[in-house]
């Protein structure tokens, strides 16, 4: 693929076009300086953010916006920590007022230790949010039936987990991710479970439009270097997907001709 065609390889969610196929979280970093440096190195255009109470005893504490400019990056507010539809809806209404963004990431989780997506809660919250005018990118189980319902309801992106949140185990369910990719016409992303660069490449090779991660970068020994690795991996995975991999064969097939050999 030539440089020009690559520059045109974009993806679109809710009418917004993006070049980077990597969405990064802004949590778990050592400090806001490291957060900013890692995000810059990742090349991401969308960052996920959480909504929390202001610490009223320290109102002058540095805020995320001072380091990660909302004019430069698309803030994607999440509902992390919400266990009911009502909490998720209140949280995102506050996010919308704080920043004016309709595009949000919905996640309703079950309790530790799995933090597995609660699909009943997720479906309920999605319905309320969509009615309230939100454009909902939805974190979900690798459950094609629930994903189809979310799509029919009007969600704008389907984002199943590849492994439990923060586990770094890599994509444990490639066959189901692939089948869910085939099923949906919406933007489709793996949203949790990536641990290292090769995992991100696999997500793109499976046909995902993009991949979302936080811990894999923030908890690397060198987060900025890992951010750079993820950027390269996502680009490589995407090119590999577009190129179309060779068929798998149950046997060897030599690369050098077997004729014309000296005797």
């Amino acid at each position: 693929m030539d440089g020009i065609a690559q520059a045109e390889d974009t993806w679109t969610v809710a009418g917004r076009q993006f070049r980077s196929r990597l969405i990064v979280g802004t949590g778990k970093y050592k400090d806001l300086e490291e957060t900013a440096a890692a995000i810059e190195a990742s090349g991401a255009e969308i960052v996920t953010v959480a909504v929390r109470r202001v610490n009223l005893s320290d109102p002058k504490a540095p805020m995320l916006q001072d380091h990660v400019d909302p004019k430069k990056y698309t803030y994607l507010p999440n509902t992390a920590g919400c266990f009911t539809a009502n909490e998720a809806v209140r949280t995102l209404r506050l996010a919308r007022e704080a920043g004016g963004w309709n595009l949000v990431k919905l996640e309703v989780l079950g309790p530790p230790p799995t933090l597995y997506p609660d699909m009943q809660g997720t479906l309920g919250a999605a319905e309320v949010l969509i009615k309230d005018g939100f454009e909902v990118m939805v974190y979900c189980a690798d459950d094609p039936i629930a994903a189809k319902r979310l799509e029919d309801m009007g969600c704008v992106a389907i984002m199943p987990l590849g492994a439990p949140i923060g586990s770094g185990l890599g994509i444990q369910n490639p066959a189901m991710i692939w089948m869910m990719r085939q099923q949906t016409k919406l933007p489709f992303l793996v949203d949790a479970g990536v641990g290292t660069a090769s995992d991100a490449a696999v997500a793109l090779e499976l046909g995902c439009d993009a991949v979302l991660m936080n811990s894999a970068i923030a908890h690397a020994q060198n987060p900025v270097l890992m951010a750079k690795a993820m950027k390269a991996a996502v680009e490589a995975g995407r090119l590999s997907f577009l190129a179309g991999r060779m068929p798998r064969k149950m046997g060897a097939d030599p690369s050098s001709p077997l004729t014309g050999l000296i005797r």
Partner: protein
């Protein structure tokens, strides 16, 4: 003479002078109104209404901002 009223701010009960608008409250708390959002009794207070929204004793307010998250 000012009256006083009790407000619940982010789960904490505090006493403030009355009358007080949302804009006045944010000013007293030294918060940058461009970086926060306010919910009063589970209803959003639009930024454009901070000046005209007068708080009443017993109001429960949530004042939030964006922080790092995945």
């Amino acid at each position: 003479m000012h009256d006083s009223m009790t407000l619940t701010l982010n789960g904490e009960t505090r006493i403030f002078p009355a009358p007080l608008s949302v804009a006045g409250l944010l000013g007293m708390l030294e918060l940058d109104r461009r970086k926060v959002a306010v919910e009063r009794n589970e209803e959003i207070v639009p930024r454009s209404a901070y000046g005209e929204t007068l708080l009443a004793g017993g109001d429960s307010l949530e004042i939030v901002h964006f922080i790092g998250g995945g």
